[in-house]
Every structure is written in structure tokens, then in C-alpha cells.
């Protein structure tokens, strides 16, 4: 509830005992990624009032992670001044909207089923809603971004893995069990690269920040072309490095981007045959490489497209690049 007081300041001197309250509504949005967790306190007008982040990878023991998360949320809320807490929304890989649990997430340190909503409710007497991190981003794009007013679109988030959210007839697709939208685990190359999910050849082992790095190392092995990447070990090379080298004209770095766009474009053409979306939005660090990823993916998608869908489906960078769309989307779950 937001109390709005409009008055002339001088009135205060006439009624000295009045108490003015302009209680802010705060929604906590949490984006748990394979590498980092970002927490934001979001006001009703979608501004992020306070923010914090912690390493996800560092906390191998679940209890330690929950304690660190709770402590960060409390710190952030303390910075918000007087407020009403609407709730806590969490976007997390394999987060289940129906159960509030994280179930068998391949890129997170904790195995099995983590009852995240229940664990957070022990510390906060408020509504807690959990969903897939990419679904949170999809809601963010739909509410605040480029997908406003679209009834059928696909959201792709390129991070450590490849997340996705699908909107059909204006509604987010959760599917029968809440886990729909795992496009990153559709198989791009049968028998291909080992994936954290225990299978092989999943799209996200090719089209993601880690995927493009694996591609770069394959290319260094296959070709003799000189490249600055040859001086950096596997454990150190980042997708950002590859991007910088590509913009400098490094032929292998450019080839790594081209291969990534090719495989993503091919799988998107496949997805279009089933869903016929109006647009595909791409989010994540790699999406900043607009020509090398977004435009190149569109080019390949059109090459592979079933004739009836050609030149119909837009491929666009998220309109919320540079913002923490997953934090906004997560907060929107409880706002």
C-alpha cells in the first residue's frame, strides 16, 4: 500500500504533530546464475533502489549459500529505509514455479532438490516465488522490454549456459511440470560435447559463454591460423576476451562467433517450425556483440528456415541489455 501525501510544506508548521509516511513498496528480485547471484530491491516503478551480489560458485555447501543470501537480502532491505516488503522473487536455473524448488540444476553447486522457497520463508515472513532465471528474464522483457504487446515470442539468455523462455498466446509456457523452456538442453549435435546435465551435444555446450570458449579451443586445435587466444589457457579465456579479439580482426575469434551463430540459428529455425514466434530476443553478455551474434544468428536462422517461415521472425537484442533484466523479472513475480 502506498500512501501519497501532497501538501504545502508550510502546513507542517501549522500542524506540528503530523507524521508523514511515504512508505515504499519493495520487491526483492534475485537472479541466481551459475557464476554469480545478484540481488536487487525494486520499487513499484521498476527502479532498482539497492543491489548486491555474491559468488554462487564459492558456496559449495547449501547452508552457507543460504546464510550469505539471507544476510545480503537483510543488508539491502536495511538500505531501503522505511518500506513494505511485497515479497521475494527468485530466478534460478531449474527453478520450479509450482514447487518453489531448484531441481537437479546442472550448473549449480548443489545437487538434487533444493527447497529454496521454503528455506527463504524461514527467514522472511513474506511471499516467495521461484522460477527459472530465463523465465524471469522473459517476464522482464514482456513487462519492461522489447516484447511489450507481443503474444508469441522466444527469449534466449546467453550466460554460463543457455536459458530460454517461451511465450505462447500471451502466456509464459510452464508446461505440465513447470520446467518448460529448457531449449539450451535440446540437442544440437548428437554425441557432441559433454554437458553438465549428464548428456552430450546440448545446444548450451555450443551457444553460451562457455560454449564459445570450447569452440575457440576446438578451432585452435583444428587450424594453424595465428591467434592471440593461443597465449591464454582454457581456465583463463573468457567470452569477453574472444569478443575483443574478434573486434580486432582475430580470424579464429571471428570464426568462433560465426560457428556459435550458425548452430544457434539452426536450432532457432527448428524451434520456429513448432512455435512460429513473432520475435526471438537475445540477452546476456554475448548479445552485446550485436553483429557477431544477433545479426549473424538471424542470417543463419533464415538460411535454415522452413520456406513458410522465412523473413517473418525477428531476431533482436533484448531491449533491456545493460540492465539486470533477471532481477527486474524476478521482482515482477511478486510485485
Amino acid at each position: 500500500m502506498r500512501k501519497i501525501c501532497i501538501f504545502d510544506a508550510q502546513i507542517l508548521t501549522l500542524i506540528p504533530n503530523i507524521i508523514i509516511t511515504d512508505m515504499k513498496n519493495i520487491s526483492i528480485g534475485i537472479d541466481i546464475g551459475g557464476t554469480n547471484t545478484v540481488i536487487g530491491a525494486v520499487a513499484d516503478d521498476a527502479t532498482i533502489i539497492a543491489e548486491a551480489s555474491l559468488s554462487t560458485q564459492k558456496y559449495v555447501v547449501l547452508d552457507d549459500y543460504i546464510n550469505a543470501l539471507v544476510s545480503n537480502i537483510k543488508d539491502i532491505l536495511a538500505k531501503c529505509g522505511e518500506h513494505t516488503l511485497r515479497g521475494i522473487g527468485v530466478g534460478v536455473p531449474n527453478g520450479n514455479f509450482y514447487s518453489g524448488a531448484i531441481e537437479m540444476a546442472p550448473n549449480l553447486p548443489w545437487k538434487g532438490k533444493v527447497m529454496l522457497a521454503d528455506l527463504l520463508r524461514r527467514h522472511f515472513d513474506t511471499k516467495v516465488v521461484v522460477t527459472n532465471d530465463a523465465k524471469a528474464a522473459t517476464i522482464g522483457e514482456m513487462v519492461y522490454g522489447g516484447a511489450k504487446g507481443m503474444k508469441n515470442f522466444v527469449m534466449i539468455t546467453l550466460g554460463t549456459g543457455l536459458g530460454s523462455g517461451v511465450v505462447v498466446n500471451g502466456s509464459l509456457v510452464y508446461g505440465a511440470d513447470g520446467f518448460a523452456g529448457e531449449f539450451g538442453h535440446s540437442v544440437a549435435i548428437p554425441g557432441g560435447r559433454e554437458c553438465g546435465c549428464g548428456r552430450q551435444g546440448c545446444l548450451e555446450t555450443y551457444a553460451s559463454a562457455t560454449g564459445i570458449k570450447r569452440t575457440a579451443f576446438e578451432l585452435m586445435a583444428k587450424y594453424n591460423t595465428p591467434s592471440k587466444m593461443r597465449d591464454i589457457p582454457f581456465s583463463k579465456l573468457t567470452s569477453k576476451d574472444i569478443y575483443i579479439f574478434a573486434t580486432e580482426g582475430d580470424a579464429l575469434a571471428l570464426k568462433a562467433f560465426d560457428f556459435t551463430a550458425d548452430i544457434l540459428g539452426r536450432k532457432l529455425a527448428d524451434l520456429c517450425t513448432v512455435l512460429s514466434p513473432e520475435a526471438v530476443f537475445i540477452f546476456g553478455g554475448l548479445a552485446n556483440a550485436k553483429e557477431l551474434i544477433v545479426d549473424a544468428t538471424k542470417k543463419y536462422m533464415e538460411q535454415y528456415m522452413l520456406p513458410v517461415f522465412r523473413n517473418k521472425v525477428k531476431v533482436l537484442p533484448s531491449a533491456l541489455l545493460g540492465t539486470n533484466i533477471a532481477v527486474l523479472g524476478s521482482a515482477a513475480l511478486v510485485a
Copy 2:
């Protein structure tokens, strides 16, 4: 409008001038397949009152086909006695719900855009609704079949090609342009078999009546195993022959079914990652081979499935096998 009269027959003798009318409502359902077109006059209780069929392949000239179709519809209506015509529903490959047209259907004789609804309206002063043949079957399964009450399911029709319909959140997915659900043209093997759509490796070139025949010929070429199929030319062998040989223990025919189920199971596992359906229904002649297709597809689908979806998704033969589900579903479009 259906007028129900319940009375003792003797009353008629007391009121000799009474006129009893029980005007039937008739919906025409048309299923246009690559090989045949089936037309049914369907009553409100889903019984098919009259039926006819004509060869689709035979009519290379569109006008000749339309004339034959119109003539068949008129013949059927003449057999229905006094009735009110609700409309004509058509299920046809690449049929567009929004425009009423057939657009670039790879398995039909007529190229380009065929304004089917407009052409039929020239002959019948009634509502004409066109959709994909597989979408019509999906509506049939949802209204009359095994998918009653399901909110998320996938329908697969194995005929000359592979058709599909997708239901999400209780609604059929048409997508942005009306053509969603072309799962048969998702690519199973990049660079694989030539497809009628102009591309290569589409799922329907493997998992369909024609696909299993192509597989049988590949296997005859690859292995020396004896088989009755070796005495039948390509132009004569049917999927029904392969089924009969398989039930007789023909090793190559069995292998052809196994390969078909493997590739279909793999692509369905892929689709489940995105949609998380409650069930997959399989319709078409091949679905009568329950163990060899339906059960085998389920087995392979589970093998390829992302762990989070394992043992959750049913694979079932259509509950309407043996009926003309596409005719019923098409009729349901206007009923």
C-alpha cells in the same frame, strides 16, 4: 438447432395434422492428405453420417481438384436428408487458420498459395474454416479422444509426412502467423534426406510412412540380412508391408521400425525440453504398430530425455485410432 420430440406414438393418431421436424445439423469435415482427401458429414453427436474420398495426388490441376471436391461434398449432403449446414471445416497440410489458404505445402500437387476457403465459399453459402490437418486431428483428440482435460500435450500424425499439433495452457498453438506446429520439418539429421520442403534431413523424411520405407531401402543397402522386402521395388513397398514383415520376424523390417522409433524418440525428447507436455499422442497408420512404434518411441525418448523430464511424459496411441480423427476435428472447427 435440434428439436427434440418425446411422445407416445399413439398421440399421432389423435392429432393427425401434426408435422414432426427433427432437422439435423451437419458439419462437413474435410481431411486433405498428400495421398487422399476424405470428406465426412458429421452430426452434432460426432457420428459420421456420410463419407466419401477422392485421390489428392490425381488432381495436378487445382481447378479439377476443387470441382471434384465440390461435387463430392454435394453428393454427401444429398445423402444426409433434410438438414441445416453448420459449415465446412478443412484440415490440410500448411492450411492457415488466419487466411484460409494453403501456403507452399510440400506434399500437395499445387504450388504457391491456394485460397481454399474463398474457393469453397464460391460454391457453398456457409462458414468455411481451414487449418493444418494435424491441428484438426489435435482438436479431435482434445474434444473426443485421449487428451480430454489435458492442458499441455503434443499430437503427432504419421502419414505421408509427419504432422503435429501443440496444445499449451489448454489452447492450440497457431503462432504469430498461423503455421506453428510444423514439427515434421524440424531437422533430425543435418544434411540428411531430401525433403519435399526443399531442405534436407527433416524429421518427416525419417518418421512417417514414406520415411520408414526410405529407411528400409537404406538398411537393405547396408546389410546382407535376408528380407522379403528385397523382392519389392521402391515404388511398391508400403509401410503396411514393412509392418506385416516385422510382425513375421523379418529382421530388417524390425530394424526399420527400431530406427524410426529411435529418431522420433530423440526429437520428441528435444521437444519436451521446450514444452514439457503431459503426453504425446501418436496417430496414423503406423501408430497401429503399438509396440514397434508407440512403445519403442517412448523407450528411446526416455533414453534421450533431459533428467528433469524423465518418466513424466506419456507416449500414447491416439484414442481415436480407427476413426477419421482429422475429419472429426475439421468438422469440430465449424460445429
